[in-house]
Subunit: 407 residues, 2 copies
């Protein structure tokens, strides 16, 4: 029997323990000896839990138990998860994690410690919740020059956006609902300001280029500036606004990465990715477009991804599941040189000036739109150009624009 431990008995950690119990019979089709959660590490006691007898407060109990071959790190945060993970891998214990913060910060180092100790560091649950994504990229697309990976990577903000769009709720009301449903944390900054999506696109970007894309280097905008009026304009254009992480590899090999809200046209498959669902596009030079879709958040979907990694470890005891992810840092290309079309709102008084600057524009209108406003989509231009141009308007700051996603 595969004996394992879970670090952190929160939402995901308890999901892992419960999933392994509930689906033990299907797991045994692949791992005939079965998987057993022997230890649960948490600072808290859980007197009412059926698993209370397995709870320990001392990590040494787990590290020194020679029966343990796999640890699930579902604590989140860099510390003490980093030290705990390192200590386990150094002893040859594989670690499966949902902790994108740690993976984005220390992925290559932890992978190389795992390789040295004939065990694995797996992180399927760190991006895209329950969607099989990391393993398909790592095991099914090695014949491809991947030139783009982009998508909806944060379930919480996609839920908020969906509620603003479909139910006309304000940002604040949607956020409150997301918190009540357990999708958003009490401090929602990491989600709504785009940092979580940014970490995830950093991980995906690193995997497709085999080197390290630092999430601190990625230009990052969240959804806090989007209003219900923006959604109405989007609908008038048959588009949806989605928070995307986008990574593109240019012909010369230079890499641009960005997290920001984008306008997505109606017949793009990301358009219908709603609620807490995530959708991730991958473009390869031979296979063309792929999309992976599923629940990007939630107890059991995320736990499912963690347990899929546990099974992978169990099938590879004594071996390392390899990743190509070097710690060499990739310099990103200058974000000011990226080109997009932009959705822009200015005052009616400045409509004529907009026409002078951008050429002939079609006005975007909807029933009940703000009076004295003129909204339009610019021709394709660089970030540098649009910033400079928008400075000519009194009524638009350089931030008041939404990029259009082009395929």
């Amino acid at each position: 029997m595969i004996q394992m431990a879970v670090l952190g008995f929160g939402t995901v950690g308890s999901g892992v323990v419960e999933l392994i119990d509930q689906n033990q019979d299907v797991i045994k089709r692949t791992i005939p000896e079965g998987i057993f959660v022997k230890h649960i590490l948490d600072l808290r006691e859980f007197p009412d839990s059926p698993y209370c007898d397995r709870v320990t407060h001392d990590y040494q109990d787990i590290l020194e138990d020679e029966e343990i071959t796999v640890i699930c790190e579902t604590m989140g945060g860099k510390n003490p998860a980093y030290a705990f993970t390192k200590a386990a891998l150094e002893r040859g214990i594989s670690v499966c994690t949902s902790n994108k913060e740690l993976v984005a910060a220390h992925g290559p180092e932890l992978l190389s410690i795992a390789a040295k100790n004939n065990c694995s560091y797996l992180f399927e649950a760190s991006v895209g919740g329950g969607i099989p994504l990391i393993r398909p990229i790592n095991a099914c697309l090695k014949q491809e020059k991947i030139t783009a990976v982009y998508g909806i990577l944060n379930g919480t903000t996609n839920y908020i956006i969906t509620r603003m769009e479909k139910a006309g709720l304000s940002f604040e009301a949607s956020l409150k609902e997301a918190q009540e449903k357990g999708y958003a944390e009490r401090n929602p900054a990491a989600d709504v300001e785009g940092h979580d999506a940014c970490r995830k696109i950093a991980i995906l970007s690193s995997l497709i280029c085999g080197k390290t894309v630092r999430y601190e280097d990625i230009p990052c905008e969240g959804i806090t500036g989007i209003t219900t009026t923006d959604f109405s304009y989007a609908r008038a254009m048959n588009m949806a606004i989605k928070l995307l992480g986008v990574c593109r590899v240019a012909e010369d090999g230079s890499i641009s990465v960005r997290t920001a809200p984008f306008l997505v046209r109606e017949n793009h498959p990301l358009h219908s990715v709603q609620d807490v669902f995530n959708g991730v596009f991958v473009h390869g030079n031979m296979v063309d477009d792929l999309m992976f879709y599923g629940r990007g958040a939630g107890k059991f979907p995320t736990a499912s991804a963690v347990v899929s990694d546990v099974i992978e470890c169990a099938k590879n005891i004594g071996r390392t599941v390899e990743f190509v992810w070097d710690n060499e840092i990739v310099p990103l290309s200058d974000p000011m040189n990226e080109s997009y079309r932009y959705f822009v709102r200015v005052s009616s008084a400045e409509a004529a000036k907009a026409g002078e600057i951008f050429g002939r524009l079609s006005e975007i209108r909807f029933e009940g739109m703000p009076e004295d406003e003129f909204a339009f989509v610019t021709p394709k231009m660089t970030e540098g150009e649009i910033r400079k141009t928008l400075n000519c308007f009194v009524s638009a700051s350089k931030e008041q624009r939404i990029r259009l996603l082009e395929d």
Copy 2:
């Protein structure tokens, strides 16, 4: 270096050879020694091909070459592919195939021969073209009770449907276009009558239940009966018509499988799967809905899936990549007991009768609809009931109905 052979130098086979050449540098990131196509088996000569010196007409040249560790079988059809595959596996040579006909007919037998000889039989390209689908199901979802798998599995018919829907072309004109673009074969029966989708859903159904679902047991309808008028009605309901393969596992474990056109609501992600793209939904008890999306046909997407299998073989020389797919045949549940809502067209004269039979119905109308016609959606009822009921109408045969996809 991994030395391999390709059987059949048609569209997919030549795609495999060209892909390996063009993307050799990226392949070497995973297989540092590289992959080399040493032999190409075909009845024809290819004097103008840069690969003409590798062409052989004698399979023994390949079988007896001890350097060969992997064979790509891209011939299609059962014979001689079956005998060739068996002979290779018996010698411990792994086989990667795009041949759904052979996989559907002999999958479990060939897998067990591979297992006995410490090599692998892989068939990623047999379903969903370039989409990573078979490996994710086999390697990422073993912790799930999968209760449904369904989707658009045939790129050719989806292309035809898209052209009928978007460009208003007739079935015949769309088919002709698909043939000109190389998506449809000269004899399109396997595609348009649903047999190809049927084989693919048989393979997927077998993988999720671990036993054999025979494609001959699956009720199969194609798209030859769908008219542009049906598409207009679908649009009036904000739905699209898609040819789906559907497999559902009921709570009691009984399995129902079907291939037929379905009406798909607008906000379902399959709705926006167009042209030759495929989209496959998988529902697990923990992860909920997943979708895998990409090109379901075409030279390089399909070749990409074949080569991903070659890389998997190269990483597992001397080992078997395992599948749970027993040759025990699964009895499917009686298709007459499946329940759906149905879209039905009768004559205006029979509208009153329809109301009597089905209760209050809302008529589906569109500008320019056929005069003297009454179209509606029934309440949920079994296949048996709808057949019996439609027999009461002079103007509707039991075949004139389209099922609604429900999630």
